[in-house]
């Protein structure tokens, strides 16, 4: 077990290095010369060269990368162009906002999809299966930003049950999820975020449960006299590795890909930040955000692998 975990962790290091290389390259690929932007139009070539040397941009790319990586490792992601504030603080803050609602959404989707999936697999072809399949297909195919707008119209504008956007009076600094006055701001983003993973995970759970129920050992379980409830426990444990993989994937997707939902609800998370950074061409901010998101994605997958190996004894061997 520990050997497998250690090996798996060591294997993540090159992946993370790859991530930093891509993030570094992003700035190099981006059009435009930052030095030209800093200089006044009348500056001479010598001025430009001096400034270039001051920022270390005259060094070979490899050296630049190593210097940048050293800064990243101690948590220095540079300064934002837009407001001159450290990128690290902004990204971290936004990341926490995103992470909390993404986690709640994905856990919600996981629980509901597991119940739906088992029910649909057992009632295969009957009414319950069809209703659940319809909900799942709706979840997969409805664009979340459209759903977000519809939710706002329905619950904020027409019914006035929930606030439309933002993080309320507390703001993102002292937002308290355990407080209803704050939490109600998070409800609609959570629902809009949860629906697509709910649909996808319901479909995969249904397929996985149906597949497990067809396996020989389920017949052995029934033949030895287990109740159907005990059979479901066995089936659930068997789909768990797959479900956890799905959950990790969806969590990664929500953390990185919720740009649209966060923009609709002006939820100050990483998606919102990314959108802002792109629109204002704030390259350091963009770079920092992507670096954090990609790292989170890699770490989530690492966690999924480790959890899987504790569930399925066969994984440790390979």
């Amino acid at each position: 077990m520990w050997l497998y975990a250690a090996r798996r962790i060591v294997l993540t290091i090159p992946i993370l290095l790859g991530v930093t290389i891509i993030c570094f390259a992003l700035v190099q690929i981006a059009p435009g010369d930052p030095i030209q932007n800093l200089l006044s139009p009348t500056a001479s070539a010598a001025d430009a060269a001096r400034l270039r040397a001051a920022y270390g941009l005259d060094q070979p790319l490899v050296v630049q990368y190593v210097i940048w990586l050293g800064k990243v490792l101690v948590g220095n992601l540079g300064l934002s162009i837009a407001n001159n504030a450290p990128v690290a603080g902004q990204v971290l803050h936004a990341f926490l906002n995103t992470l909390v609602i993404a986690l709640i959404s994905v856990v919600l989707a996981f629980v509901v999809s597991t119940i739906f999936g088992v029910l649909a697999a057992y009632r295969s072809g009957r009414l319950a299966d069809r209703v659940i399949t319809a909900v799942a297909v709706f979840g997969i195919s409805v664009p979340p930003f459209w759903l977000g707008v519809i939710l706002v119209i329905l619950f904020a504008v027409n019914l006035s049950w929930l606030p439309a956007t933002g993080m309320g009076a507390s703001g993102s600094e002292s937002f308290d999820y355990l407080h209803w006055d704050d939490f109600k701001f998070a409800i609609m983003p959570i629902v809009a975020l949860a629906l697509p993973p709910l649909g996808i995970m319901t479909r995969t759970t249904r397929a996985a449960v149906a597949e497990i129920l067809n396996q020989d050992f389920v017949q052995t379980l029934r033949a030895k006299g287990l109740s159907e409830r005990a059979v479901i426990v066995h089936a659930l444990r068997n789909i768990l590795p797959q479900a956890v993989a799905m959950l990790g994937l969806q969590l990664g997707y929500l953390i990185g890909g919720s740009v649209l939902v966060e923009t609709v609800f002006t939820w100050p998370g990483t998606g919102y930040l990314l959108n802002k950074a792109v629109l204002t061409r704030d390259i350091p901010l963009l770079q920092g955000t992507i670096l954090v998101l990609a790292t989170a994605f890699v770490l989530i997958n690492l966690a999924v692998d480790l959890v899987q190996s504790t569930i399925d004894p066969r994984i440790k061997r390979s």
């Binding site: 052995t220 030895k224 006299g225 005990a230």
Partner: protein, 370 residues
């Protein structure tokens, strides 16, 4: 179609057999087709006896076995006829009672040991789970019982093996585990569905000897499904040969395997590779088993039978049973001095045919009052 329900049971009163199956029919219904997998099977089995069911793939052997545990999916299966084990009427008891009887009164060993165990639980957990399901004992007692069972089925270093996962064991060991699990609550009837088919030849014989020994020690009744005639000869007290969902020959193991009467059994015995010369091409039964969605009229084997005539397809042949309770369902068999004989010469002679029908009707022909 002829009336296929078995004629009235013989006048001689016999002790109630432990297992009685009467005119069992199993039909799988789906939107596309209706598959008649079992078409009227009757047999009796006493405690302590082994019945071997022989037949090709698709002859309904496994379906019949699963019916005895009611393991078929409910919505898509129609089970008709009578099934009784001990004092329990398997055909009519409620689902909850059935669940409790599985594993305690009737147990099953499956064909594929590689996939018959849950891969995520240790072997010990799976055996203890069965024990605790049927007997109100502590976790420790169930574990101790699991250890005893592994010793019973001769698993080497059982303490260590209890903590092993199925993928860490060989096929033979896994089959021993499956057998241990089936035996965990001392069943009175053990159903073994080709338990040696998936194993190496050397392991096959070990498992066979093991099953036979335990069956004798525990005094269980056992129904052993196989398509291997050698295996049947090793283990059977009685043999039933199935074809297209019917028992076409039944009797004492020696009678059926040494002096078979039904052309199908005869052809099957003739086609074992062991007795055939090296330089001759192997003899096999021509054709393939019938489509269970559309069974032919009359004898299902007629299209492949060397002795078939027009009289074969008229109606399903009635069972003919002799003094030794040797039964065959074939229009070419008849009773001669109280014993079943196969006579290919009677083909097409209506007078002789009538005689056979009469003989069949008047004989104690509940096809297997064991």
């Amino acid at each position: 179609m002829n009336d296929m329900s078995p004629p009235a049971v013989a006048a001689v009163p016999r002790p109630e057999p432990f297992v009685r199956v009467e005119d069992l029919r199993v039909t799988f219904v789906s939107r596309d087709a209706t598959v008649r997998a079992v078409n009227g099977i009757s047999f009796d089995l006493e405690r302590g006896k082994v019945l071997c069911v022989i037949g090709e793939s698709g002859s309904g052997k496994s379906v019949m076995m699963r019916s005895l545990l009611r393991l078929h999916p409910k919505g898509r299966t129609v089970i008709e006829g009578g099934m009784r084990v001990g004092e329990h009427d398997i055909a009519s008891i409620g689902d909850r009672t059935m669940t409790k009887l599985r594993g305690s009164l009737v147990s099953m060993v499956f064909q594929e040991p590689m996939t018959a165990l849950d891969p995520l639980y240790t072997v010990g957990e799976q055996i203890a789970e069965t024990v605790r399901r049927h007997e109100k004992v502590s976790r420790e007692a169930a574990w101790a019982r699991a250890l005893e069972l592994l010793e019973l089925v001769r698993v080497p270093s059982p303490e260590r093996r209890l903590k092993a996962y199925p993928h860490e064991l060989s096929g033979g060991l896994r089959q021993r585990i499956v057998i241990a699990m089936a035996l965990s609550c001392r069943p009175s009837l053990l159903l073994a569905d080709e338990p040696t088919t998936a194993l190496d030849a050397s392991v096959q014989i070990q498992i066979l000897v093991l099953l036979r020994r335990i069956q004798r020690e525990m005094g269980m009744a056992m129904i052993f499904v196989t398509h291997d005639l050698g295996v049947a000869a090793q283990i059977a007290d009685e043999v039933a040969v199935m074809y297209a969902g019917r028992i076409i020959e039944y009797g004492d193991a020696r009678d059926v395997l040494v002096a078979p009467k039904h052309p199908y059994t005869r052809a099957m015995l003739a086609s074992t590779a062991k007795d055939q010369g090296r330089d001759h091409p192997l003899e096999a039964i021509a054709g393939s088993p019938p489509d269970l969605r559309a069974l032919p009229d009359g004898c299902s084997f007629a299209p492949r039978c060397a002795h078939a005539g027009p009289d074969c397809t008229r109606a399903v042949p009635a069972p003919v049973t002799d003094l030794r309770r040797h039964m065959a369902r074939c229009v070419r068999t008849r009773l001669k001095a109280g014993l079943l004989t196969f006579d290919p010469g009677v083909a097409g002679d209506p007078a002789v045919r009538e005689g056979i029908d009469l003989a069949a009707r008047s004989s104690p022909a509940h096809c297997a009052s064991a």
